[in-house]
C-alpha cells in the first residue's frame, strides 16, 4: 500500500533582494523605477528615522517620552513600504509603526504626544490617511480589510496597508483578515515585518510553516517574501502589491525579513534571548549601510550627507518634543466628551467629580 501523496505541501521560498550586502544590484529585473532625487529622499528618510529613534530612546530614559517601541534595523521595511504608497492610501499600523505614520503625514510632535499618553497624538489631521498605532496585536489587520472593502465599494483606486510582526501572524485576526480579503478580492496589503522575535519568543516557536508568506496560500491571495533589510526590494514588493490592488486583482501578503537592533521596548532586555553573534550577523545587513553603499557608488550620497541629515533630524526631534511638551494637558472632562458624539447625562454628571 502506498502512502498518501500530500499535494498541498509547497517548496521553501527565498527572500527577494535587489541589492547585495555591498550595495551592488544583484537582481536588476526587480529594480524599482526611481529617480536619483527619489533615491536620495529614501536615504534621507532612513537616516532621519534612525536618528529620531536614537534620540527617542534617550528621551524615554529622561522620562520625556512614555511607551516607545524602537525601530532601528527596520528602516527599510518601514520607510520603504510607506514610500511605495500614494498619499491617499490608508495605513493601519501596529504599535511599532510610527515611522510609516510620520512619513505619511502625521506631524512628529503628535507621534511624541501619543508616546506621552496624550489624546491629541491620535487626532490624525484630516488629510493624513492613517489610523492610530494599534495595541491589540492583529486587530488592525481586520480594520485594513474593512477600509479596503470601503475603497472597493466606493470605486476608489486606493489601497489599504496594515503592518504586523511574526507574532501577529499567529493571531486569529490575521487568518480571518487574509481569508476575507481573498473571498472579496480586496485592495489590501498585509505587511508582516518578521524581525525574528515576538518580544522574546523566537520565530521557530511562532509557526511550523515554511514561511509566513506561505500563509497566503490558504487564503487564496498572493504571497511573497522579501529581504526586509533591502529598501529597494521592499519598495518593489509594495508597489507591485498596490498596483494589483488598484487593478482589482486583490490582496497580497508580504513577509519582510528584518531585525530590530534594539530591544522590544524600553522595558525589555534583548540580551536575555538573543546572542551577540546573531546581533552581529544582522548588523552586517544594516539597511542604511547597504543602501548607503549603493548610493555612494552612484555618486549620490556621501558621509557628509549622512551627517547633515543626522543634524537635521536631531533639530527636528528637539523642536517637536518641545512642541509636544508645550501642549496643554488632557482633562478628565475632555476625555468624557470623547466617549460619544453627544455626552449623555450620566457622563455629564460624572464630570462634577473632577472639577
Amino acid at each position: 500500500m502506498s502512502k498518501l501523496p500530500y499535494e498541498v505541501q509547497t517548496e521553501p521560498v527565498t527572500p527577494l533582494s535587489v541589492l547585495s550586502l555591498d550595495g551592488d544590484v544583484i537582481n536588476p529585473d526587480l529594480m524599482p523605477d526611481l529617480t536619483d532625487e527619489q533615491l536620495k529622499e529614501i536615504m534621507y528618510r532612513m537616516v532621519f528615522t534612525r536618528t529620531w529613534d536614537e534620540r527617542a530612546v534617550n528621551l524615554g530614559r529622561q522620562g520625556r517620552l512614555g511607551f516607545y517601541a524602537p525601530v532601528s534595523g527596520q528602516e527599510a521595511s518601514m520607510v520603504g513600504s510607506e514610500y511605495a504608497l500614494n498619499k491617499d492610501d490608508f495605513i493601519c499600523p501596529g504599535y511599532r509603526d510610527m515611522p510609516q505614520l510620520v512619513w505619511h503625514g502625521l506631524p512628529l510632535y503628535q507621534a511624541f504626544l501619543y508616546s506621552r499618553g496624550h489624546q491629541h497624538g491620535g487626532q490624525i489631521p484630516e488629510d493624513v490617511h492613517v489610523l492610530m498605532p494599534q495595541i491589540i496585536i492583529g486587530a488592525q489587520i481586520l480594520h485594513a480589510t474593512g477600509v479596503a472593502m470601503a475603497f472597493k465599494k466606493k470605486g476608489e483606486k486606493r489601497v489599504a496597508i496594515t503592518y504586523t510582526g511574526d507574532g501577529g501572524s499567529s493571531e486569529g485576526d490575521f487568518y480571518e483578515g487574509l481569508n476575507f480579503a481573498g473571498v472579496f478580492k480586496l485592495p489590501v496589503i498585509y505587511a508582516v515585518q518578521n524581525n525574528g522575535y515576538a518580544i522574546t519568543t523566537p520565530f521557530e516557536k511562532q509557526t511550523a510553516a515554511l514561511s509566513i508568506a506561505h500563509k497566503a496560500v490558504a487564503a487564496g491571495i498572493k504571497g511573497v517574501q522579501v529581504d526586509g533589510m533591502d529598501v529597494l526590494a521592499v519598495i518593489k514588493a509594495v508597489r507591485d502589491a498596490a498596483e494589483l490592488g488598484r487593478n482589482g486583482e486583490g490582496a497580497t501578503l508580504i513577509e519582510m525579513l528584518t531585525y530590530r537592533f534594539r530591544p522590544h521596548s524600553m522595558a525589555d532586555d534583548a540580551t536575555k534571548y538573543r546572542t551577540k553573534d546573531e546581533e552581529a550577523e544582522w548588523a552586517l545587513k544594516d539597511p542604511l549601510i547597504r543602501f548607503g553603499k549603493f548610493l555612494e557608488k552612484k555618486g549620490l550620497w556621501t558621509v557628509e550627507d549622512t551627517n547633515r541629515v543626522k543634524e537635521e533630524a536631531k533639530a527636528a526631534v528637539n523642536e517637536n518634543i518641545k512642541k509636544a511638551e508645550a501642549v496643554e494637558k488632557m482633562t478628565v472632562a475632555g476625555l468624557i466628551d470623547t466617549m460619544f458624539e453627544t455626552t449623555p447625562q450620566h457622563l455629564e454628571e460624572q464630570k462634577a467629580d473632577f472639577q
Binding site: F90, Q119, L142, G146, K153, K154, P344, H346
Partner: protein
Amino acid sequence: MAQMNMLEAIRDAMRVELKRDSNVLIFGEDVGKVGGVFRVTEGLQEEFGEERVFDTPLAESAIGGLAVGMGVQGLRPIAEIQFVGFIYEALDQMFIQAARMRYRSGGRYNSPIVFRTPFGGGVKAAELHTDSLEGLAVQTPGIKVVIPSNPYDAKGLMISAIRDNDPVFFMEHLNLYRAFKADVPEGEYTVEIGKANVVREGSDVTIIAYGMMVHTAVKAAAELEKQGIKAEIIDLRSLVPLDIDTIVASIQKTNRAIVVQEAQKTSGVAAEVIAQINEKAILHLEAPVLRVAGPDTVYPFAQIEDQWLPTPARIVAAAQKVINF
C-alpha cells in the same frame, strides 16, 4: 399603519435606512440570500443587491473588524452576529476597537456601527444562543446598548441606532421576534435612544424591566391588580444611556420598586439601576429595591429554562415583599 411583528419591524427599519442612505450596509453570516437564520434581513439582498447586503465568511471577529474599518471610511455598517454567544469571538472589535475609536482618535474617527444580535431565553434553543450578555456591554465605555420590547419601539430604535454616529449594540430578544403583531407606522420615524417608556401606569410599586421581561412584568401586574396593587411598569428600552429620570419620577410616586432582568443576578443592569436609585431617590423609598433575576449560574440547557427565567409569580412575590416591608 401596518401590522408587524418585531422581526418585521426591525427589517422595515433597515429597509427604510438602506433606501435613505447609500452608506448603510448589512453583512454577517447567512444574512444575504436567506435573510439570516431568523429571516430578519429576508428580501433585503434581493431589493438592494449584493453590494449592500452580503454574506461573509464565518468569522465573527472579522465581521466586527470589517465594520470598524468601513466605519472609519464613512460607511454605516449593520453587522449581524448570528447568535449572542458568538459575540465573545468579536468582543475585541465590538467593545474595544469600535467603542474606543472616538476616544483613541480624539474625535477624528468614529464607529457608526450597529451590532445586531438575537439573544434571550425561553425558546429551547441550543447552548449559548440565549444568554443575556448586556451586562458585559454596559460595563464597556463608548458603546450604546439598546433592547426593544415591541415592534413599534424596535423599528424606531433601529432607525435611531443606524443614524447614531457611535456604535450601538442592538439586542433582539428571540422570544419576541414573532410573539405578537402591533401597529407600526410606514416609512421613517425614530424612538430616541436613552429614553425609557412607562408602559403601564400605577401608584403602588414601580417594576423596571426591559426586553422580554417587560411582558413578564405586564403579566405580573395583572395578577397584582387582582390583589389591589397598582404596578407601574417602566420599559428601559436602552441600557446605555440609562434613563434614570423616568425611574426617579416613578419612584417619587410609588415609593417602591423592583427591577427585573433575565440575566444573572449579580453585578448586572438591575444592580446598576438600584445603585442609581440610591444616589437619586433614596429619600423617596419606603422599602429596599429588590431584584428578580436569573440565578448566578450559566444559562441552563433547555429542560429547565422556564424555571430558571424570572416568572410572573416571582415578580408578584417580590412586589408583595416591598409593599409589606
